[in-house]
Symmetry: C2
Subunit: 356 residues, 2 copies
Amino acid sequence: MQAALREVAAKIDRVIAEDAFPESIQPAFLRDSVRDYPGRGGKRLRPALLIWCCGLLGGDPCRAWLPAAAVEVWHNWTLVHDDIIDRDVLRRGVPTAHCRLRDAVAAAPFRQDGAEAERQGMNFAVLCGDLQQAWANHLLSRAVESGLRAETVTGALRRMQELGGRALISGEALDVAFSLRSPLEINPEEVLEMIRLKTGALLRLAAELGAMTALDDATPEREETRMLGDFAEACGVAFQLRDDVLGIFGDETKLGKAVGNDLKEAKPTVLLLRALALAAPAVRRELLASLHLPEYTPEHLKRVRQWLRESGAAESVAADCRKLATRARDLLAVFPANRYRDYLLEFTDYLTVRER
Amino acid sequence: MQAALREVAAKIDRVIAEDAFPESIQPAFLRDSVRDYPGRGGKRLRPALLIWCCGLLGGDPCRAWLPAAAVEVWHNWTLVHDDIIDRDVLRRGVPTAHCRLRDAVAAAPFRQDGAEAERQGMNFAVLCGDLQQAWANHLLSRAVESGLRAETVTGALRRMQELGGRALISGEALDVAFSLRSPLEINPEEVLEMIRLKTGALLRLAAELGAMTALDDATPEREETRMLGDFAEACGVAFQLRDDVLGIFGDETKLGKAVGNDLKEAKPTVLLLRALALAAPAVRRELLASLHLPEYTPEHLKRVRQWLRESGAAESVAADCRKLATRARDLLAVFPANRYRDYLLEFTDYLTVRER
């Protein structure tokens, strides 16, 4: 799968780099910003999912390049706006869009000072994401050029607004809203729904567009399309649950990021909320007291892990994750075997049983 | 025309209010925000332009309702993001989206304090505009339901990304960028280009979609479509030039807003930049000194008006405005007379020779 994934990534890199849409964007520094995230590479998991779902159903992968590039650019605009909302300074080890735009505004001919540069950098980053959203739609509208029926392209565009727009953005908004409430007020089921929207919906979109492309079908209602959508959503939710587990139980050297960050930010994960619900009152108080700390020693993390294990929360989340992965594999098993099915099975493991 | 405009507005109000897209948006306060601006009414000039251009070419106006609603919702998301960027507190006399969302975040169950509520209100308003952008595309994708060919709808969606997305947002970004530079560094021609993008592109889009709907044509390349696009863009630029003139020469009681605001904000209008370019050095210095003042007395405004007149700038901008209005009327004169042509002629006057 890794070789096939690299092949997809190389092709998607090229489709995005060669697309003319951003060329006439003004001013020039904003044009550069629009091309920045989509040009930073990355694994291109969503395009691969789309193309392999298309291949699984016997579709011509050549017809799937533009929809795949569209989903990837869509993913990137959501990252630009998320980074503004979270005030993150790094994305894949490089300054975020609003930081780079702040630097552009601090330089000649603008020469804005600190706070004003910061504010205007955010403003331009809002417009950068808006432009990328339009770019993603434009890429998808061009899919008629690769032989898809216009009915299919219109249906795909409609679905992109429903899943990539309404569902994903609702998920992002719920995530922000949860971060503003006490973890004790949030139900783990609400968080699962948020994950389904924020992470699951875009993977569902990729899978559905792959199927709609293969079948040249304007609706997401065909049995195969629904099944592949369900498969992708299950992978997405399992991926996120696994991410939360690794965020506390993971190996920092494998993960490449600090374990304990979720505790520092008091992130209301399903793992934490289940532990709070299941633990004895004394342990619940200890758990709550171990949120928002400036630093986490190995001893501290060890104790938190013990509470999460003893409460049964760790096993309960791991079981959910296994169940989702099994469901995903079962959905794939219904389709006839071909190399795309092998890729997708490996993709499922890659997302759900990973160590990093 | 006013009666026909009211009829369009009533119908568009209904199409937008009854559309199901926002129903499943979460959380509920964000769903309310998404419906807020599009539900505030207003003149619905862009939908009227679209529908009348469709009628002018003999098209069935019933087919144009969804594209017209789409252009109106598109216009509204740009207002939500513009209001964030400008930190405006009122829109049509009612609190802006980010102010209302700030209030939602300050209330239960979030109870965020001043600065944090402010920041999170902005964050949710970014997501509100993103959702409205998706909603606008969704409305347009549904136009197949009113009998348009899918090819036409795909072409219309593509054009919406080019004009409503790339061109309009570039115009907004240029406007922000100009506001960060000294007026002496900006060329009036650059400002004209910004107006063409920020104001002209969306009116061009409305006219082109009206023509493409009438002709059931997937491209904006037909002669009629291009001419109506040029007509609408000319109206848009003339409207903005007129707006800048009224901003200094207008009658406050007719305008309903303070004359002198553009001077207070040192807005680099074509009018101001031409005056700076044409005036003698002593007057140029006086003009520059009269920017950014906290208040403008009638005497002060009288002197500024005199400088703008004596430099020839006022007459030069008025002449441009007249030229654009004449060009717009000439473009319409080519089409056979019907009631839609009468509406569009009156619409031209309404935008370009208005007093308020």
